[in-house]
C-alpha cells in the first residue's frame, strides 16, 4: 500500500489552493512586491526494497491512472537506509511514470547523483495525513464517450485521519465526515450524514462550488480559498441541515430546510484568505 500524505507548506490557516499576500514598502523606498502562495503537494515515502515498492506503485497507478496527473509530489526519502542502491535512478523511474517531483526531503548526501534533485527541503515536523487514493476502476463510473468523469460517490463514512481528494469534480458522501477527516473536491461536496471534519470545495478555483450536509458540525469549510472555522459559523445552524456557498468573496451559510431559516441564516462574513489582494 502506498501512503500518500497531503503536505502543506506552513503558510495559511485553512487548506487553501492559493493564498496571496502583498507586502508593500512605503512610498519613499523602491517598491517591491512579494507574493505568498501555498500549494498542496503529495508526499510519497518509499520503503526499501525499492523494486517492491515500485511494483506496488504500478498497481496503484493502474487503479487510479490520473491520480498523479499535474500534482506536485514531494519525496520523503528519510525512510530509506543509507545503503539503498541507485536512489537517483529510482527517482528518474518515478518521473518516467509521470510523477512530478518538486523536491526531496531526508535524502542521504552520499547517494550518487542525488544533487541533481535539488537541495533537500528542511524536514517538516508534520507527517501529514494519509490520503485515500480513489480507486478509479470502480469508485467512479466509466466516462461517457468524450465526457469527463466529474463525480465521486463514497458509500462509507470518511473516518478521522482519512483524507479524500477528488480534484475533478463533486464528491458525494453517503455517510458522515468524522472529526479529523478531510474531503477535498474540485467541485461541490454533498454529505448525507453529519459534516464534523473539514470540507474543502472548489479546489481548482471554482467559486460556484457549494457544500451541502445533513448536519453541520464542521471544523472547517472552504470554498475556493474562502474559509470559515467552527467558531465563525452561525451558532443557529450547528446541528442543522445546511449549505455553504460563496457570494462574491463572502461565505454564506443557510439552513437547507426553508421553514427553518429565518434568523438562523448566516450572514457572517467568512474570512477571506485572499484578502491581501484587495488591500
Amino acid at each position: 500500500m502506498i501512503l500518500c500524505t497531503p503536505y502543506r507548506l506552513p503558510l495559511t490557516p485553512g487548506t487553501a489552493r492559493h493564498t496571496s499576500d502583498y507586502v508593500t514598502t512605503d512610498d519613499t523606498n523602491p517598491f517591491i512586491r512579494l507574493r505568498g502562495r501555498s500549494v498542496m503537494a503529495l508526499v510519497l515515502a518509499p520503503e526499501a526494497p525499492l523494486a517492491t515498492w515500485l511494483t506496488a506503485l504500478n498497481a496503484q497507478v493502474a487503479r487510479a491512472p490520473t491520480f498523479f496527473d499535474g500534482r506536485p509530489v514531494l519525496m520523503d526519502l528519510g525512510g530509506l537506509p543509507a545503503n539503498t542502491p541507485d536512489v537517483a535512478g529510482f527517482l528518474r523511474a518515478l518521473e518516467g511514470r509521470g510523477i512530478r517531483i518538486i523536491g526531496t526531503e531526508g535524502a542521504h548526501p552520499s547517494w550518487p547523483g542525488i544533487e541533481a534533485w535539488g537541495r533537500p527541503l528542511p524536514a517538516s515536523g508534520k507527517a501529514g495525513r494519509p490520503i485515500t487514493v480513489p480507486d478509479e476502476t470502480h469508485a467512479t463510473p466509466a466516462p461517457a464517450a468524450g465526457g469527463e468523469v466529474n463525480s465521486l460517490v463514497i458509500e462509507q463514512p470518511v473516518r478521522s485521519g482519512q483524507c479524500v481528494v477528488f480534484e475533478k469534480g463533486d464528491v458525494t458522501i453517503l455517510g458522515s465526515i468524522g472529526s479529523g477527516a478531510e474531503v477535498i473536491a474540485g467541485g461541490s461536496i454533498h454529505v448525507y450524514g453529519a459534516l464534523r471534519g473539514r470540507a474543502i470545495a472548489g479546489l481548482a478555483g471554482n467559486a460556484k462550488a457549494r457544500i451541502f450536509c445533513r448536519r453541520m458540525e464542521a471544523e472547517l469549510v472552504v470554498i475556493d480559498g474562502v474559509y470559515q472555522t467552527a467558531d465563525d459559523m452561525p451558532a443557529a445552524l450547528i446541528g442543522k441541515a445546511a449549505q455553504a456557498w460563496l457570494d462574491g468573496d463572502q461565505m454564506k451559510m443557510t439552513a437547507l430546510d426553508s421553514t427553518d431559516t429565518g434568523d438562523a441564516n448566516g450572514q457572517s462574513p467568512g474570512r477571506n484568505i485572499r484578502q491581501g489582494r484587495r488591500r
Binding site: 485515500t132 473516518r159 478521522s160 485521519g161 468524522g178 472529526s179 479529523g180
Partner: protein, 271 residues
C-alpha cells in the same frame, strides 16, 4: 469455525485489557473454548488481570520465533479449564513480531479454540496493526468522551482498510463496546451519551460497561470481573456483550448502579 477477535482502541487506557479478560472469561463460562492472546508486547498486563503472571514461562514472541511450541506457552486458567492465555513478553520489543510468524501462530490457535481473542496495544503502530490484521471480528473499546471517540473513528477506518479481510474485499465485523460509562455524568452532560457515541461511530453497539469499583477490585485480585463478581453490574454487562458476540439477541440496557436507581426512585420527599 474458529473466530479471531481483536480488542482495539485508538486511545490508551480505555479498558481493552479489562474487556479482553472479561469477554474471554464470559465466553468460556458459557462453554466455548477460548484463548486470550496478549499482543501488547513490552507491557505485560493481561497475565496480571488473568492472575497468571507467576506461571509465565514462554510467551507469544518465543512461539512466533519458533523458540517454543505453542502448547508450551499456553497457560490454562485455574478456574475455568476451557480458558487459556498466551502471554506477551515484557522484555522483547515489538519488532520481534513478524507478519509470517503471527500468521502461523494465529492459524495454529484457530485449530485449537473456538475464540481467539487478541488484546492489542492502543494506537496505530506496528503491534496494534499486526494484532488486528488477521481478525474476523473487532471490538472497538471506547469511553464516552470526545478524544476516545475520535481515536476510535480512526481505528475503524484502519479496520476497514488495513486488515486481511479488507484487503480481500470482505468486510470485517465491527462492534462498539462503550466502557467506563457513568449514567449520572452522562445525564448531567459531563460525558457523551450512548446515542451520541453510536451515532458518531455508526457501528453496532455490543454493550455498555459501567464505571465500577468491581472492575478495579477484580483486577487487583487477578481475576476477570465476570469471575470475581459475576452477579455485579459490570460483569452482567460483559455477559450480555458475550452473548451478543455469540449471535444472541439480548436487550440493551443502560447500566445504572443500584444506589443511583434507588436514590432516583426515593430521593424526593413528599412535601
Amino acid at each position: 469455525m474458529a473466530k479471531v477477535l481483536v480488542v482495539t482502541s485508538g486511545k490508551g487506557g480505555v479498558g481493552k485489557t479489562t474487556s479482553t479478560a472479561a469477554l474471554g472469561a464470559a465466553l468460556a463460562q458459557n462453554g466455548a473454548n477460548v484463548v486470550v492472546v496478549d499482543f501488547d508486547v513490552g507491557l505485560r498486563n493481561l497475565d496480571l488481570v488473568m492472575g497468571a503472571e507467576r506461571r509465565v514461562v514462554y510467551d507469544l514472541i518465543n512461539v512466533v520465533q519458533g523458540d517454543a511450541k505453542l502448547v508450551q506457552a499456553l497457560i490454562r486458567d485455574k478456574r475455568i479449564e476451557n480458558l487459556s492465555l498466551l502471554p506477551a513478553s515484557q522484555t522483547r520489543d515489538k519488532d520481534a513480531l513478524t507478519p509470517e510468524g503471527v500468521e502461523r501462530v494465529i492459524g495454529e490457535l484457530k485449530g485449537k479454540f473456538d475464540w481467539v481473542i487478541c488484546d492489542s496495544s492502543a494506537g496505530i503502530e506496528k503491534g496494534a496493526m499486526l494484532a488486528m490484521y488477521h481478525a474476523d471480528v473487532a471490538v472497538v473499546v471506547t469511553n464516552p468522551e470526545v478524544s476516545s471517540v475520535r481515536d476510535s473513528d480512526r481505528i475503524i477506518g484502519m479496520l476497514d482498510s488495513k486488515t486481511a479481510k479488507a484487503e480481500r474485499g470482505e468486510a470485517i465485523e465491527k462492534h462498539l463496546l462503550i466502557t467506563r460509562f457513568d449514567a449520572g455524568r452522562a445525564a448531567r452532560g459531563e460525558m457523551l451519551s450512548v446515542d451520541d457515541v453510536v451515532e458518531i461511530l455508526s457501528i453496532p453497539l455490543l454493550g455498555i460497561i459501567p464505571e465500577s469499583e468491581e472492575v478495579l477490585r477484580a483486577s487487583n485480585v487477578g481475576s476477570p470481573v465476570t469471575l470475581a463478581s459475576p452477579a455485579g453490574i459490570a460483569a452482567r454487562a460483559y455477559f450480555d456483550a458475550a452473548r451478543r458476540l455469540s449471535g444472541e439477541t439480548v436487550e440493551m440496557v443502560v447500566p445504572m448502579e443500584r444506589k443511583g436507581l434507588m436514590s432516583r426512585l426515593f430521593g424526593r420527599r413528599v412535601a
